[in-house]
């Protein structure tokens, strides 16, 4: 009896050492929002899927890590990373100067632009501070599009929502006159979903680097420079070996890495 106990203790110890050894898979946690289709969204069975998630998991495979994905509300997503609830944020996060003060970013994994979205019967055709004076504009709070509309349309009535889904809902119901959103999710929403059929993209794409930055990157803690380097290398590799293209084509008609 004593012997078996001793043996099992030894076995457990060996297992623990084995897990810590570099030969075994490193365990990393990916934080994402889960409310931003098609990039990250919660499926009917409760799991999180989307372009961000697929890219994240492909990168993990490339660096030989075992990754799990957790959802975190957008407003707390950077504090969550700093509090080590997860090791990287892959949640369509634009690389901006403000955010760089808190976290480090990988190289962009896709390029991004923002757009205005209006109801199909909207009379709004001009997107200038004068033309939108007094209009009700919606956006998700804490996003670059929220920054953009607040800075660009000071005389508009600006409403900030906790998630993008809620902005969409209120644009469809007509509570807001227009919204600022990311180009790709808005393209997806207006062309593929039933409630998005109410609305259309309008005006020129917003590409001012002051707001959209260099593109969309993976955020890691500043002390994790090594992880950042490995992710950058893995990103180049999945671009080269076709994994990126396979994932891209599953979601988008264009290559979002170059936006061409």
């Amino acid at each position: 009896m004593m012997k078996t106990t001793l043996l099992s203790v030894l076995a457990a110890g060996a297992l623990a050492i084995g897990l810590a050894a570099p030969a075994n898979a490193e365990k990393l946690v990916i934080g994402t929002e889960g409310a931003y289709p098609p990039f990250n969204f919660v499926q009917t069975d409760g799991t999180i899927a989307g372009f961000d998630v697929d890219i994240g998991l492909a990168l993990c495979k490339q660096i030989g890590a075992e990754c799990t994905v957790v959802a975190q509300d957008w407003d707390g997503i950077i504090p969550g990373l700093l509090a080590k609830k997860y090791d990287m944020i892959i949640a369509s996060m634009f690389i901006t100067e403000e955010r760089k003060k808190q976290v480090d970013f990988s190289a962009p994994y896709y390029k991004a632009a923002m757009t205005h979205v209006v109801p199909k019967d909207s009379a709004i055709t001009e997107f200038t501070p004068e033309a939108l004076k007094g209009k009700v504009i919606g956006a998700q709070s804490g996003t670059t599009q929220a920054e953009y509309i607040q800075a660009t349309y000071p005389d508009a009535d600006i409403r900030l929502y906790p998630t993008q889904d809620e902005v969409n809902l209120d644009l469809a119901s007509g509570r807001i006159d227009l919204q600022g959103g990311d180009m790709l999710p808005m393209l997806d929403w207006t062309t593929k979903s039933a409630d998005g059929a109410c609305c259309k993209l309008a005006g020129e794409p917003i590409t001012d680097p002051k707001f959209v930055g260099e593109g969309v990157g993976i955020a890691v803690r500043k002390e994790d420079g090594d992880l950042r380097e490995r992710l950058n290398k893995a990103l180049d590799e999945i671009r080269a070996n076709g994994t990126y293209k396979t994932i891209n084509d599953k979601y988008f008609p264009i290559d979002v890495y170059t936006m061409k």
Partner: protein, 242 residues
């Protein structure tokens, strides 16, 4: 960022949020306070069959989360835009402040009704009998005897209800109303600095402290006809707590 720097940089927004919180809470409590006495009388006096709709309404309001009620009204009304437009109500429901105010007033009415019902039932029947005996009409009895006494009994509980409503008003921020919480989240999403939540808590605390002080003054005034010795006894019915 240093917590003091957060305050010096963002105090106008926080103050703006505080005004919105006050507006929402006190308009909501006031509207509820106008309707609740009538409902309370129905709850005390009407036949059970006549009370049924009111009881269903009260159980629904007290049995479901305020957040669910707010979502139901805010996003629910959005789904019925054509119908609401047809009866001219869309203009009202379009504004998030109106939706939040409506929900808070309707929710608080349910609680205040039950609190006042308790107050009315606590009035000594002998006092009502005496008032009748000296020839007061029904309305006079209500106005001069029942309600003054019922409010004195219900006062601490009513104060609690308003404080709870004030704190619950933080959820209005999820439907884009910029109250203290809405402003706080906006500032937090810019600075990622937790100390702004600390300042929000301090603001709520200040509002509550001032409110309790005013409410106690009013309580003293309501009880002025009772001697000091008896007032001690009256207070056993419950002091104001947060």
């Amino acid at each position: 960022m240093h917590p003091i720097e957060i305050l010096t940089r963002f105090w106008p927004q926080l103050l703006d949020g505080a005004l919105m919180t006050l507006k929402l809470t006190f308009l909501g409590a006031l509207l509820a306070g106008l309707v609740a006495p009538m409902f309370a009388l129905i709850r005390v006096g009407a036949r059970p069959a006549a009370q049924l709709p009111l009881r269903i309404y009260i159980s629904f309001m007290r049995g479901t989360p305020l957040l669910a009620q707010l979502f139901l009204v805010f996003y629910g009304s959005g789904q019925f835009r054509p119908q609401l437009e047809a009866i001219g109500l869309w203009g009202f429901f379009r504004d998030p402040f109106n939706c939040a105010l409506l929900v808070f007033a309707v929710n608080s009415t349910a609680y205040q009704t039950e609190i006042l019902r308790g107050g009315i039932q606590g009035v000594n029947p002998g006092e009502i009998e005496a008032a009748r005996a000296i020839g007061m009409s029904r309305w006079q009895v209500l106005r001069r005897v029942v309600f003054p006494h019922a409010y004195r009994i219900a006062w601490p509980a009513l104060g609690n209800e308003i404080i709870l409503l004030m704190k619950a008003s933080a959820i209005a921020s999820v439907v884009t109303v910029f109250d203290i919480m809405g402003r706080t989240r906006q500032i937090f999403s810019k600075t990622f600095d937790f100390s702004v939540y600390l300042w929000a808590a301090v603001l709520y605390l200040c509002i509550t402290a001032i409110f309790i002080w005013l409410w106690r003054l009013a309580e003293a005034r309501l009880s002025r006809h009772i001697g000091a010795r008896e007032r001690g006894v009256g207070n056993v019915q419950g002091g104001l707590q947060t």
